[in-house]
């Protein structure tokens, strides 16, 4: 019998491969909070804005949903993660702010300080 530990190691390698295949190694990874609480605060619309941007040709970005990290009064939250940099965590993001994040941060490379959760 193959040892379960060997099976899971193989499965992990495959899982990582699939994630990478979806563009995980892009320069920027964007996570949008999509738990009940985040959705109630309006995160579905925020997600739509990011999805639309990706569909319309925004490249080098890996977009994913995530659960709630637990920062209730600052929801919806969006994270932008770049290797070698401190992950940027934005709070209270609406559609308009999402568009601005796309323009200024994802395309322009500039963080928007006043929305960052510290």
């Amino acid at each position: 019998m193959v040892k379960p530990l060997d099976i899971i190691r193989k499965k992990r390698a495959e899982a990582i491969n699939r994630i990478v295949g979806k563009g995980y190694l892009s320069t920027k990874r964007v996570y949008v909070g999509m738990a009940t609480c985040e959705i109630a605060a309006g995160s579905k619309k925020v997600m739509e804005v990011f999805k639309e941007a990706v569909n319309k040709g925004l490249t080098d970005v890996y977009l994913s949903q995530k659960g709630c990290a637990g920062r209730c009064n600052l929801e919806p939250t969006v994270e932008v993660i770049e290797e070698g940099k401190i992950p940027v965590k934005y709070g209270k993001i609406n559609e308009e702010r999402a568009r601005e994040i796309i323009e200024k941060h994802l395309k322009g490379g500039k963080t928007i300080e006043e929305w960052i959760i510290k």
Partner: protein, 601 residues
């Protein structure tokens, strides 16, 4: 700092746990500050103090982000080197770097630099907010399902139980029964069929720990249950979750399906001879169904009512078979105990309460949210350091822990290290983790009444003390808040409360009087004021307040216009007057007056 030539920014996290403080973390902090000033880079480096990072034997511990470089056994003398080589030169000081890779570390790579998160320790919520909960690959990539693989590769059921026992884990649903013992009792029963249940019937007002845990990381609960099934010899798991959590249910369903497809659930898991599957049962949202025997009745299709114990479910549970019931948070701890080891897990927490506890921090606190901290953290650290203190500069009055079964603790308990025993001693309970902060604007009698209304409403009606007793208590509380309280009411509440606690059948009744008894214990003078002086110092009990216009009135007429019952009279530019007989005490005049001319008495 000019925006154009932006310097690279760093966040240094310094462990502020008891062990690290003992080893000199305070001196290290001032050492870092001095060095940063010396090099003129204080602006680009932020220092945050974290709660215990669980690496006590290697303390003082210091983490530099980005990069999540962990330094251990740091002394004051090492600081200049770390600053010059790592912060300025970009090269880590390798002789001090320690190789610590625990499951919870990953969360901090993303969130560790935020004060609110940096002070926490995320063991059960380790993946919440950093993975896509609907993608099993995300979970597998972070060592998901490795714990069950390890168990099936190298451990006998008895060894798994020993490991859980050794970890010191206690039930996170509230009562704090040692989890390993529960497993052992269930495993010791001889039966052709056994059941494993996950209690996700989260019903406390203001609590959302379990929902967030499932919505953020459903697989960890599933993996915990599979391990539990293997340990006690069961092949059937059931997750009992309330229908009010549709997204959590949807994600669980998807997770179970994905898990089955990967061979982690179903027949012959990982090719072994162990088979286990999970189904979801929906609850209709009765609070009492969180009680394990009522929950079992509900799954069986009967009315959700508790029965006397013993026999405990581990002996005679679902359909009369031995049944292992644990809460969502308890299950989420299991894969960590297996992978990081019980020895490591034991290091976190206090002598009698190991590991962490998740709290849903809510109420009049600046930063509301999910807080997971090691047992032994003080209420002050949670409310002021993590929660950021009270909103709008108001004064802290009390904190309510444990939901409707818990109690209100005043300021003198703020420095109490939280664990099962200390909270019980202070007159409250750990409960499932609700934590509501109350400021000076809230009436304690009103709070007690709110929680009792809830339990009275949710009482299943089976036993008399709970059914009739809570009703009578609520009547007394209602008349007190309406200004009709009588001499001796407080004593009556105490007598009734203690009787209900002693005589009720299940945990709901046994704990229902807690909010009332604890507020009487700690805020008796507020009850007395309501009864004797007919006054509510917080100004919340409507019947006990009245509005009057004082000499500051300039006669602008704003109050007169807003009054819905025409109780205010007066001519422009002359002081106005409130007719108390007509006034319905809605408070709109008080809100609208710009001159502070209306007194609330």
């Amino acid at each position: 700092m000019g925006k154009n030539k932006k310097k690279k920014e760093f966040v240094i996290t310094l462990c502020d746990g008891t062990a690290c403080i003992h080893n000199g973390s305070k001196e290290i902090k001032s050492g870092i500050e001095k060095q940063l000033e010396k090099h003129g880079i204080s602006e680009s480096v932020r220092i945050i103090l974290s709660g215990c990072l669980g690496m006590c034997d290697k303390g003082p511990v210091l983490i530099v982000n980005p990069g999540y470089t962990i330094y251990g056994r740091v002394t004051e003398k090492d600081i200049p080197e770390i600053i010059e080589s790592h912060i300025i030169g970009g090269k880590a000081v390798s002789r001090l770097v320690i190789d610590e890779d625990h499951l919870y570390n990953r969360f901090f790579r993303v969130f560790g630099d935020v004060g609110f998160f940096g002070r926490q320790m995320r063991i059960t919520l380790r993946n919440c907010g950093i993975i896509d909960p609907e993608n099993i690959d995300d979970y597998i990539s972070l060592r998901g399902y490795e714990a069950i693989a390890k168990v099936l590769s190298d451990m006998k059921p008895g060894e798994v139980i020993e490991e859980v026992k050794h970890s010191g884990l206690r039930g996170r649903g509230g009562a704090g029964f040692p989890t390993g013992l529960k497993w052992e009792f269930t495993a010791g029963q001889k039966s052709d069929e056994k059941y494993v249940i996950c209690n996700a019937d989260e019903g406390d007002p203001g609590a959302f720990m379990d929902r967030s845990a499932i919505e953020g990381d459903p697989h960890t609960v599933i993996e915990g249950m599979i391990i539990g099934g293997y340990a006690v010899g069961s092949s059937k798991g059931i997750i009992y979750i309330r229908a009010e959590y549709p997204l959590a249910i949807k994600r669980l369903e998807k997770a179970i399906k994905d898990s089955r497809r990967n061979g982690f659930l179903g027949e012959n898991i990982f090719g072994s001879d162990f088979s286990f599957d999970i189904e979801i049962r929906l609850g209709a949202g009765a609070f009492v169904c969180g009680e394990e025997t009522a929950l079992i009745h509900s799954i069986e299709g009967s009315r959700g009512m508790p029965r006397p114990r013993p026999p405990y479910p581990s002996v005679n549970g679902l359909f009369g078979k031995p049944t292992l019931i644990n809460n969502v948070e308890t299950w989420a701890n299991i894969p960590v105990i297996i992978l990081d080891g019980a020895d490591w897990f034991r290091k976190v927490g206090t002598e009698k309460s190991k590991g962490t506890k998740v709290f849903a921090l809510a109420g009049k606190v600046k930063n509301t949210g999910l807080v997971e901290v090691p047992m032994g953290t003080t209420l002050r650290e949670i409310i002021f350091d993590i929660g950021g203190g009270i909103e709008n500069g108001k004064k802290f009055k009390a904190v309510q822990t444990g939901g409707p079964s818990g109690g209100c603790l005043p300021e003198k308990y703020l420095d109490t290290p939280i664990d099962y025993e200390s909270l019980a001693k202070a007159g409250s309970i750990m409960g499932s983790g609700g934590m509501i902060v109350i400021d000076e604007d809230s009436c304690m009698v009103g709070i007690a009444k709110f929680f009792l209304e809830f339990t009275q409403n949710e009482s299943c009606g089976k036993c008399t003390p709970c059914r009739e007793g809570t009703k009578r208590m609520l009547e007394i509380l209602t008349r007190i808040t309406e200004g009709k309280g009588e001499e001796g009411d407080v004593e009556k509440l105490e007598r009734l409360g203690n009787l209900i606690k002693k005589a009720s059948l299940c945990g709901l009744g046994q704990s229902a009087p807690n909010p009332v008894l604890s507020t009487i214990l700690n805020f008796r003078e507020e009850y007395e004021e309501h009864i004797k002086d007919k006054k509510c110092r917080a100004g919340e009990c409507r019947s006990l307040i009245g509005y009057e216009i004082n000499s500051k009135c300039v006669g602008c007429g704003a109050c007169k216009r807003v009054c819905p019952v025409g109780a205010i009279s007066g001519t422009p530019k002359n002081p106005h007057f409130i007719d108390k007989a007509k006034c319905v005490k809605c408070g709109q005049c008080y809100e609208v007056c710009k001159f502070g001319a209306i007194d609330k008495k």
